[in-house]
């Protein structure tokens, strides 16, 4: 490194570091705010971790003091917490965050499994079976690749509300059950698998169904992994469609919808718990990304294969 040192090299690093600081700033702010007391957030003091001076949790006082008279000292004492505990506990207690997170996991995984269930047989048929109309189906796939689902959200919303599915898990999942991109990707992948393998399986008496799930699926694991990351990241982070599909019933809220509820009441006290919630929502994917960077970058840029 030292031997390579030169003015240009230094300039490059300075540029890259300034960029990195701007990129990291909101992550830093989010983590820092999630640990600070409302007062520290307002005055921007306390450094990164905050002073962690115990503070009185006003919500806790209010909840345990329904009469509204001056709260007793014992109650105040009982409701005193350090800011970090206050923020993270409030994140889970002010809103049913666990439920939102479970909804997010359920919706995201359901979408992925249904996508695979629908796409894999079709991709196999397109890649390895000869039948009349195959080219037409493939043309249809190529055409549908052009349609972003977000763009047709409104008619989907109308159709779903006509069948009474708005505010349900089905509403969150149904529009994404068909991944044209998944079909295309798996078809391209299956094209590279030798026909002999399939013929051998047929000679062994395997049905076409078991060929798809017992021969093709295991072969396709690397491509499927990338597709899984692509799909899971997109739907865990998606805000637009859940915002439309779930209009009122909080039972079906996904994590971003739950987080959005913190903004609205402009009460300054909410910032800490809001940032704690944001941290909780963002962390799983960031950690997974840091652990398996190569896989993630491959998965997210999958669409580059189109």
């Amino acid at each position: 490194m030292i031997s390579n040192f030169s003015a240009t090299q230094a300039l490059k690093h300075v540029t890259l570091i300034i960029g990195a600081l701007i990129v990291i700033l909101p992550f830093y702010a989010m983590l820092s705010y999630s640990m600070k007391s409302p007062h520290e957030i307002e005055t921007n003091t306390g450094g990164f971790f905050g002073d962690q001076k115990p503070m009185v949790d006003e919500w806790c006082v209010k909840a345990n003091n329904p009469s509204g008279v001056l709260p007793s000292e014992e109650l105040k004492q009982a409701c005193t917490k350090t800011p970090i505990v206050f923020n993270y506990v409030s994140a889970f207690t002010k809103a049913p965050l666990v439920r939102y997170l479970l909804n997010g996991v359920f919706v995201t995984l359901s979408i992925f499994f249904i996508q695979v269930l629908v796409a894999l047989p079709c991709a196999y048929a397109l890649a390895k079976l000869k039948f009349w109309g195959r080219d037409a189906v493939f043309m249809l796939v190529l055409f549908c690749l052009l349609i972003p689902v977000h763009a047709i959200a409104l008619p989907l919303y109308i159709m779903l509300s006509k069948v009474g599915l708005i505010n349900s898990y089905a509403a969150l999942i149904v529009p994404w059950t068909i991944s044209v991109f998944g079909i295309f990707l798996m078809r391209q992948f299956f094209m590279t698998i030798p026909d002999d393998l399939i013929d051998a399986a047929r000679i062994d008496g395997m049905s076409e169904f078991s060929i798809v799930w017992k021969v093709m699926l295991p072969c396709a694991i690397p491509a499927l992994m990338a597709f899984a990351i692509f799909s899971v990241v997109a739907h865990w982070n998606d805000y637009f469609w859940p915002r439309i599909a779930v209009t009122s019933d909080r039972n079906y809220f996904t994590p971003p919808l739950g987080l959005r509820m913190f903004k609205g009441d402009s009460d300054g006290d909410v910032y800490g718990p809001m940032m704690a919630t944001a941290t909780i929502i963002v962390t799983p994917l960031i950690v997974a990304f840091l652990l398996a960077q190569r896989k993630f970058i491959e998965g997210i840029t999958l669409s580059g294969m189109k």
Binding site: V118, L129, P148, T247
Partner: protein, 339 residues
């Protein structure tokens, strides 16, 4: 002898078995394609048709009356100033975010490529915003840009009256009057309200968009750069191309052509779809300065139940998006064919 016969019979049986399997496969293939094809029709094609039809009506949910309006919805979109502002805002966002995020992505990729192994670290950092839920990060930016409490304005205020003000007011440049610079006037007066100010709201939303998107473009360009053969640079050097800018202009940039076409398309479509930041931070305001199409569809059709009108915006939106993709297809078709 007997062995040989058995073997031949086996082979024949196998061939017949394969033939049977292939015949069976014909039926199976329709079965395999049926779910996917029917879902493509129901989820992707029928909605376009539905939106197309509804866009000529005044349909709203729960209202049994449906009047045929002809092209009135479209006339409103293109004729009334608030919807002209909508198209203007959307196009502004795309026209700002696409080139800047691509430029930064390419720049970052080239820099990272040239600093050796430590580049991996920058790559990881720059990719973080792509992974994080945009809504969450938008709320963080919202707080960071808060006019009084926010970390951005507080930090900027700290710089006032110190050497930082001197540096960023650019008064040290002979042709600049430092006292009139943005930084100095803001110090003397007030720092911007960012998303609350109609002049700053759109640039701020664009900035968050760029912040989020450029890492994605960077990764695509890094992949593109690995595809540029080293020999080309040697060959160019023999032809007298040694200066970095000429190398970029004559070798790297043309070789990145296919990547660029793709990056431009995907970034444009993603930028057209901007919604999260607008819905969470500005609600299309102030003064409709950030009233982008996705938000307009949401506000008109879902919140105000003007489905017919929202459908018309949807169709205009689809038109924009398809225009971009067809342009890309047209450009790519010249080079690549799927087999």
């Amino acid at each position: 002898m007997i062995e040989k016969v058995t073997k031949t019979v086996d082979t024949l049986n196998q061939a017949a078995g394969l033939k049977r399997a292939e015949n069976r496969a014909k039926w199976v293939s329709y079965l395999f394609c049926f779910p996917a094809v029917s879902l493509m029709f129901i989820i992707l094609l029928v909605p376009i048709f539905v939106a197309g039809v509804l866009s000529f009506t005044d349909y709203s949910l729960g209202n049994p009356d449906l009047n045929w309006l002809g092209s009135k919805n479209y006339e409103v979109i293109f004729g009334r100033s608030s919807y002209q502002k909508m198209i203007w805002a959307t196009v502004t966002y795309v026209v700002v975010v696409v080139p800047i995020s691509i430029g930064l992505g390419l720049g970052a990729a080239m820099l990272i490529n040239s600093v050796g192994r430590i580049g991996e670290l920058y790559k990881t950092i720059y990719f973080l915003p792509v992974m994080a839920a945009l809504l969450a990060m938008a709320l963080v930016w919202d707080l960071a840009l808060h006019p009084t409490v926010g970390i951005v304005n507080q930090t900027l205020r700290l710089g006032c009256g110190t050497w930082i003000e001197g540096l960023f007011s650019f008064g040290w440049l002979p042709w600049v009057d430092g006292a009139q610079s943005w930084y100095s006037t803001s110090c003397a007066d007030e720092f911007p309200l960012w998303i609350g100010d109609r002049d700053y709201a759109m640039p701020t939303i664009c900035f968050i968009g760029i912040w989020q998107a450029f890492g994605f473009n960077m990764v695509l360009y890094l992949a593109g750069l690995t595809g540029v053969p080293r020999e080309l640079y040697h060959a160019a050097a023999i032809d007298g191309v040694t200066n970095t800018w000429d190398q970029f202009r004559l070798v790297t940039w043309p070789m990145l052509g296919p990547t660029t076409i793709f990056v431009v398309t995907i970034t444009s479509i993603n930028s057209f779809k901007v919604f999260d930041t607008v819905e969470a931070l500005t609600w299309g305001g102030p003064a409709k300065s950030t009233y982008v199409m996705m938000y307009a569809i949401f506000e008109k059709a879902v919140k105000e139940n003007l489905v017919g009108f929202g459908s018309a915006i949807t169709i205009v939106f689809l038109f924009f998006v398809l225009l971009i993709t067809f342009t890309q297809r047209f450009l790519v078709e010249k080079r690549v064919h799927y087999s």
